[in-house]
Amino acid sequence: MSLDAKTVAKMARLARVGLSDEQVHTYQKEMQGIIGWVDQLNEVDVTDVPPMIGTGLAQPRLRDDQVTDGNCREKVLSNAPDREGPFYTVPKVVE
C-alpha cells in the first residue's frame, strides 16, 4: 500500500502534530518504508483467528460504587500550564 504525502499530512492533522512541508516529506519516506515492511503480515492466514485483546490473565472485577479518591483539586491543577482559579485556560473556542 502506498502512503503519499497527502495521507501523512492528514494523519498529522488527525493526531494534532504540527508538521512542516519538509517534515511531511521526510516522514512520508520513512513511514512508507515501515508500512512496506509490515505488509508481510498479509502472508499470514488469519482465517477464523480471533484478535488478541490483552492477555486475558486478569479477571474482570466489580467493586462497590463508592468514592475512593478525590478532594484533591489543587493537586489535579498543580501541573496546569495556565489556569485561572480552579479552571484550565484555553484559547477562546466560542465566539
Binding site: M1, A15, V17, M31, V38, T55, N79
Partner: protein
C-alpha cells in the same frame, strides 16, 4: 572506599543488617560516584541526593533497632517513566520537562514501603520508544562498556538504557525498568547486567507513563539474579488501581534460585536461528544450551512458527496504542504548552515542539493503522497475528518448561553506528518482542563477552507466572557463565 562498589544488592543488605556499613555511608558513596561519573554517562535525568540522604538517616534509625523492610537502606534508581510524587517525572520528553506528579506509581510505592532509597530518575528513550536510548530529549546515555580496541561511545540499549548503564557502572545497586518489546532485556544484555520482564499483570502499571498499555510491564534490573529476585518480590503484587493487574500471591522469588534444572525441559526455537545471525551470538547460544544440559536439563528443539511476524505485528499494535495513549499530551492540563490562536493551533504547536522525531513518527503511524479504511488491514490483522504468536508459546509449553534464546542479535554498537533506517533499528527487538506479544515472562542474563570485549546476553522465556522457573534456570546460566567482568567506566575504579 572502593569495596563499597563490590556489594551486590543482596550483600549490601546483609552488611547493612550486620551494621558493617551504615545506610548513610552506602548512599553517600553512591551519590559521590554519580557526581564523579554521571556527567559523562548521563544515566540520570534528575538526581535526588538530598531526599536520599534524609531517607538514609531514617533507614539507619530503623536498622539500629533491627527493623526496616526487605530493601531498607539500599540505594536504587528509578526509570523516569514511573511517576514519583513531588519528584519531576519526564519520560525523557520535552513535553513533560517540568511535570511533577502529585501521586506515586504503585511499583515505586512498593519499593519505598520496603525501604529502598531512590537516588534519582534514570534516563530512557523518549516515552520508552527506542532501543538505543538516543531518542531522549535529555541527551543519549553512554554505555559504561568500551570495546577493547576503541574509545567510541557505545549505546546502552533501550529503552531502559539509563537504568542499565547506572547499574553496570555501579552508581546504584538496582533499578526499575519497563519492557514493552524488550526495553529491559536488551539494555540489560548490552550493559552486562540482569533484567526480568515479568508476566504481563505481575507488576502494576498504575502511575507508569503508558507507551503501549497491553504490552508495558515493569521489572527489575540489577547485577545478578538474586538482586533481581529481591527487587521483583517488592515490586510485584495485585493492585486494584490497575484493571490488568492479576490477583495472585507473590512468591518468595529468592527461594527459586537454587532449585536447579534437573529434568527441566528447555526448548530451542528453530525460528530464532535467523539469517545473518552473527557467529558469536550463535556460539553463546550454543554455550547456554550446553550449560543447561550439563546441569541436567533436557534440551528439546521446538518451533514457534510465527516468530517472523512478531516484529511487524508488534509495531502495529504498539504504535496504535501509543498514538492513543499520547493523545493526552495536549498542553492543557499538564506538561509544556506552546500557545496558538485557536485550540487546535495550540494542540499542534504544543505537540510539534514537545515530541521528538521518533515519537512523532510512531504517533503518525499509529494514527494511520487505526484510521478509517486501514483499521482492518493493519490493526485488526496484527491483533489476529498476535493471537497466533501467543498460541505458538502455549503450544510449545505443552512440551517444554522454558525457552532459551539470545537476547539481542548483536552486542552494543557505537552511537554513530546506529542505522538511519527505522526498520533496521526495530530489528534489535527481534528476539524480545514475541514474549512481550504473548505476555509471558522472560529474563536476560550476561553470558560472556564478544571478541571486541562487549557483553552478550542470553534470554530465558517462561510460562505465565512461572518467573520461578526462569530464576532457577537463569541461576544455572549465571553460575556457569560466572560473569565477573566489569565495564571500563565503573564507580569502583578510582579516578
Amino acid at each position: 572506599m572502593s569495596s563499597v562498589f563490590n556489594y551486590t544488592l543482596a550483600s549490601a543488605r546483609e552488611a547493612l543488617r550486620a551494621r558493617k556499613i551504615s545506610a548513610v555511608e552506602l548512599v553517600d558513596a553512591h551519590i559521590d560516584a554519580i557526581e564523579r561519573l554521571d556527567d559523562g554517562l548521563n544515566s540520570f535525568i534528575t538526581r535526588t541526593p538530598e531526599q536520599a540522604r534524609l531517607a538514609a538517616k531514617e533507614a539507619d534509625a530503623l536498622l539500629a533497632k533491627g527493623e526496616g523492610g526487605s530493601l531498607c537502606g539500599l540505594p536504587i534508581g528509578i526509570k523516569d517513566l514511573f511517576a514519583t510524587e513531588g519528584v519531576r517525572t519526564t519520560a525523557a520528553s520535552k513535553i513533560l520537562g517540568n511535570f511533577v506528579p502529585p501521586y506515586e506509581s504503585t511499583v515505586t510505592a512498593n519499593l519505598k514501603r520496603d525501604g529502598a532509597i531512590s537516588l534519582g530518575k534514570l534516563n530512557l528513550d523518549e516515552f520508552a520508544m527506542g532501543s538505543t536510548n538516543l531518542t531522549s530529549a535529555f541527551g543519549g546515555v553512554e554505555n559504561p562498556w568500551k570495546r577493547r580496541d576503541s574509545d567510541a561511545k557505545l549505546v546502552p540499549g533501550g529503552s531502559s538504557g539509563g537504568s542499565a548503564a547506572a547499574v553496570a557502572a555501579g552508581l546504584v545497586l538496582g533499578a526499575t525498568g519497563t519492557d514493552t518489546g524488550g526495553s529491559i532485556r536488551q539494555p540489560a544484555a548490552f550493559c552486562g547486567i540482569t533484567g526480568i520482564k515479568p508476566t504481563y499483570g505481575r507488576c502494576s502499571r498504575f502511575g507508569t507513563i503508558a507507551f503501549a498499555s497491553s504490552l508495558d510491564q515493569a521489572g527489575p534490573m540489577a547485577r545478578n539474579l538474586q538482586d533481581c529476585a529481591i527487587l521483583l518480590e517488592s515490586m510485584a503484587g495485585f493492585d486494584p488501581k490497575d484493571s490488568t493487574s492479576v490477583n495472585k500471591p507473590v512468591p518468595h522469588y529468592e527461594a527459586a534460585l537454587g532449585r536447579g534444572v534437573k529434568g527441566l525441559k528447555v526448548g530451542i526455537p528453530k525460528e530464532y536461528r535467523i539469517d545473518g545471525l552473527p557467529a558469536e551470538i550463535e556460539a553463546i547460544w550454543q554455550q547456554g544450551i550446553n550449560w543447561l544440559k550439563e546441569a541436567g536439563a533436557e534440551v528439546v528443539d521446538i518451533s514457534l512458527p510465527h516468530t517472523k511476524y512478531g516484529l511487524p505485528a508488534y509495531y502495529i499494535a504498539a504504535l496504535a496504542e501509543a498514538s492513543s495513549n499520547l493523545a493526552r499530551y495536549d498542553g492543557v492540563r499538564f506538561g509544556e504548552r506552546v500557545s496558538g490562536a485557536s485550540l487546535d493551533a495550540l494542540y499542534e504547536a504544543t505537540r510539534a515542539a514537545g515530541f521528538g522525531d521518533e515519537v512523532k513518527r510512531r504517533i503518525l503511524l499509529g494514527t494511520y493503522v487505526l484510521s478509517s479504511g486501514y483499521y482492518d488491514a493493519y490493526y485488526l490483522r496484527a491483533q489476529k497475528v498476535r493471537t497466533l504468536l501467543q498460541r505458538d508459546f502455549l503450544k510449545a509449553y505443552e512440551t517444554v518448561d522454558i525457552i532459551l534464546a539470545p537476547t539481542a542479535p548483536s552486542g552494543a554498537f557505537a552511537w554513530d553506528e546506529k542505522p538511519t533506517d527505522p526498520v533496521q533499528v526495530y530489528l534489535n527487538d527481534v528476539f524480545t518482542v514475541p514474549a512481550s506479544m504473548a505476555g509471558v515472562p522472560a529474563l536476560s542474563v550476561p553470558a560472556g563477552l564478544d571478541s571486541r570485549g562487549v557483553p552478550l546476553g542470553l534470554q530465558l522465556i517462561g510460562r505465565f507466572f512461572d518467573e520461578e522457573a526462569l530464576l532457577a534456570a537463569g541461576s544455572v546460566l549465571e553460575k556457569a557463565a560466572s560473569f565477573t567482568h566489569r565495564p571500563t567506566i565503573h564507580a569502583g575504579v578510582s579516578a
